[in-house]
Amino acid sequence: MNPTQDCGRRIEDLSDYLDTGASPDAWHIENCPQCQARLAGLRSLSAAALDLMDSDVASADDAGWLDGMLANLRLETRAGRPIPLSGGPLDELTETEGAVIAMVRAVGDSLGGVLIGRCRLEGEVSTAGAPVEVRINVSARYGHPLPALADELRVAVIQELLLETELNVAAVHVAFTDIRPPLPAPPGSAGDGTREEGR
């Protein structure tokens, strides 16, 4: 293998090898000085690219630049389907699915230890009295026993929906889709992890 002679491998082949760590031509690549030199060049290019991106990101984050953009968005809340409420004889009252889902989020978040992710109302919510099932994705803080947490959440959601809506809630399904590590205990306090069962 003469390094002064072009081995004919293309940069694409070497990039693929670098990306995947494998190549049908791996034996040659691993033993050819020319390929090894070009691989070293590609590796330092990747390293410089990461470095450049980090410095770009740091210099792109000047104070307050996003505030104006977020203010310009005028984020509207999502209405979803209308949910009927019984009003007086001349009224046709409804609340929106979006508002009910927001309510479910607020109830869950207020419990502590859980954060609500996606929430879906399944069933004909626009038909008064039709059975509706609630499906909630939940992120729990590690250390809270999950079955008890799920029960607490179910009860709280059903109570709130009974109070604030006329939905016929047939079931509340809770799925723990994420567990977050315990909060570091603030100095001098018992911290959040005290609900964890002792060993």
């Binding site: 330092s44 410089a48 470095d51 410095s55 990101v57 968005l73 607020a106 992710g117 996606r118």
Partner: protein
Amino acid sequence: MKNPQDLPQTGPDIPDAILAERAGDGDVAAFETLARRHGPLMRAYARRLARSYEEADDVVQEALITAWRDIGSLQDGAAVKAWLMKIVGHRAVDTGRRRKVHDNLEDRPEAPDHTPGPAQSAVAGSARRALNAALARLPEEQRRCWVLREFGGQSYEEIAGTLGISAASVRGRLARARTTLVIEMEEWR
């Protein structure tokens, strides 16, 4: 803009997936947390793809509008960062296309142009500085492919879709870009 149902707490701790799901359900604060978490990367990326800082900020603004509109249909919330970057990439390329039509310029595919890119002074490290300079000398088509791949993390097929060219062209352009960049960085060393 604060609503009672908004996030009770913000922090580095809340995973993207939960934030994306909440944002998809209409939680404004969750969307803002995502925007603040990934905004600097989106902006840095847009600056590498756009012609000027101003154009880059327009791209980010439009990308955020699109993201808020469509985040409810995002299936995998954990992939929200890549999804946001993809929107930025599309927006930036569209904006460039519109600018070209508007300027009524001939498309000179392989002619180097001199996009300023982030200010030289901001790029301190030496290998980094060499790459920054070499990138600015690349023909725009090659630079775009390279930035979409290296900064945007897009696959060849995704880049092909974004640019409206074949995956084989993407491979070719990337190879030419990498060859030039490696050589220029070696010369600098």
